[in-house]
Amino acid sequence: MAFKGSKHVSLGLALAATVTAASLWLSYTNKLNVYIGSQYDWFALIMAVLSFIGIAASTLSKKHAHNERQKVSIPVIGLGLIAGALAFTLLMLQPKVLSSATALQRGINAGGLNLATTTNTASFGATNYSQFDIRDWASVLSQATSESFYTGKTANLLGFVSPAPGNDPDVFYASRFYITCCAMDAQPYGVPIYAPNWKQHYPVNSWVSVSGGFIENPHKNSSFPIVVMPTKLSAVPEPADPYER
């Protein structure tokens, strides 16, 4: 047996052509990592090239498709419009990383905090904390709540600004998404930064570089008993690889 005929040749091939063109462009401009993990870059590029060849050759089969009458219904039109709208955005809009809205919706630090699963576990318990990233410090903060533990320790962080939930207006999260496969599985992690009037200088979703030690939060009723008191806090451009792994 073999397949025979189809009713949506033009839509399906047009969608494939759009994804192929978008993949090639994203690969060329190094922006595929806005959507997928870098381990897939080469695979995505190779399959986009093969798809390009397949699509170019496939238009031959239009000859067969045109022999069939198109049966168009309202659901088919609706689904076609949804697919077409997304294809349009793939082709026309700038790639943008996930925002703090998704970070808050998924719950910052809700994805499990355990130093055994973070990348720099070898350093924990030793004196070298300089390599700790946002997830590492978030893990430490979830486990060690005594201020004395943090004496002499400095955090160097790069993340985007997310409003910290709760009743503390002087704290924001320096946050980062960690992905395994693609943006769908991105888990947000964040470290609370103490910076009164932060909203005036660092808009939500903007990127900041933070350096500083840990202090007990001056607001005793805050949800964040230990916070980073920045000695250096500055706005920076979005990094080339916005997600951590």
Binding site: G12, Y40, M47, S58, K96, S99, C181, A183
Partner: protein, 335 residues
């Protein structure tokens, strides 16, 4: 055929290839130009919906393309019914062997759908295609290796995942083998696609190109719809609600099943994703995620709908859910 007709046909084929090439090249040029001139600031939630849906498509598309190429290879380049001849005649033994076809075709679940369609077109039964579709994303070397890498000291997670997937796929395959009419399980459109084509003028290459076009045509709209649906659910359903259920033996399993349904993560790397939850969720819940996710998720359901009826999808989903819960509870209370 007269020489002039052959020349005309060759010219026509060349012309349409140019059209196909121009289609992708033209879209690529549009993409380059729009990057320079189009700057739109959308509300965060809408922008995130677009990013999430696009990520599903860009991550799945290479696997879908690979799956389509494998499907073409199975249908056109493997001798007809050769694969079937290698398999045992007994139904149980056949499905057991088919469960391990993923060892030869180690693509993730969205790539397996076109392969499953190709197997049916090659003469495999619906039950065998379902067994393959459910087992292959888990019982393949890449998935098993990454599971071992993620949980090197918890070998029972790897064993429970592999054995659980094998059992569930074969039990559901056996249940579907009782189905008398394929029309109850396969869509009319897919059955029509599978009807024997009486066109002896095709070379193998032409046949391959034709199949590539038709499979792309069938699957791509479903992939887009699945991606948008998965994106909408991600934006609208607070994940923190699910993660709050980690402590309870049964609720944690249900939460992880729902999470797997929503996240639609590739089976080759899902173990690393769930690793972060392993301290807050029960082992049974982690195993449930690792078994359920590769079999059923929002994106896969949209893709499977191109081939299986709604009734069949409902049965598969309910059965996989029930068996996964039993497996998860067994792991929670057995280890």
């Amino acid at each position: 055929m007269a020489a002039s007709s052959v020349t005309k046909l060759n010219r026509e084929r060349w012309d349409v290839r140019v059209v196909g090439f121009s289609l992708v090249a033209g879209l690529l040029i549009i993409r380059f130009i729009s990057a320079v001139i189009v700057h739109v600031n959308l509300p965060d939630k809408l922008q995130d919906l677009i990013t999430l849906s696009s990520s599903v498509i860009l991550e799945s598309f290479p696997f879908v393309t690979l799956g389509i190429l494998l499907s073409v290879a199975v249908q056109v380049w493997l001798p007809a019914r050769k694969v079937q001849a290698w398999l045992p005649k007994n139904g149980y033994a056949r499905r057991l062997c088919i469960s391990f076809l993923g060892v030869l075709l180690p693509v993730c679940e969205c790539g397996n759908l076109p392969v499953a369609r190709g197997l049916i077109a090659q003469g495999f039964t619906v039950a065998e295609s379902v067994t393959f579709l459910l087992a292959a994303p888990i019982l393949n070397p890449i998935t098993l290796l990454t599971t071992h890498e993620a949980f090197p000291t918890d070998s029972h997670i790897l064993i429970a995942r592999a054995v659980g997937a094998l059992l569930i796929a074969n039990i559901i395959g056996w249940l579907f083998s009782k189905e008398r009419r394929s029309t109850d399980v396969l869509t009319k459109k897919f059955i029509a696609l599978c009807k024997t084509e009486d066109d002896h003028t095709h070379t193998k290459w032409e046949h391959s190109v034709d199949l590539f076009a038709r499979e792309t045509t069938s699957i791509m709209p479903a992939l887009f719809v699945g991606a948008v649906t998965a994106g909408c659910i991600q934006v609208l359903v607070p994940r923190s609600v699910l993660l709050g259920l980690g402590g309870n033996a049964l609720l944690s399993i249900l939460a992880m099943i729902v999470l797997a349904l929503i996240v639609s993560i590739c089976s080759n790397v899902d173990a690393f994703f769930v690793l972060a939850f392993s301290t807050t969720f029960s082992v049974g819940a982690v195993v449930s995620f690792l078994v359920f996710g590769p079999m059923i998720d929002v994106k896969m359901l949209a893709l499977m709908r191109t081939t299986y009826t709604m009734r069949a999808l409902l049965r598969i989903t309910v059965l996989v859910t029930l068996f996964t819960i039993i497996l998860g509870l067994g792991v929670n209370y057995g280890f």
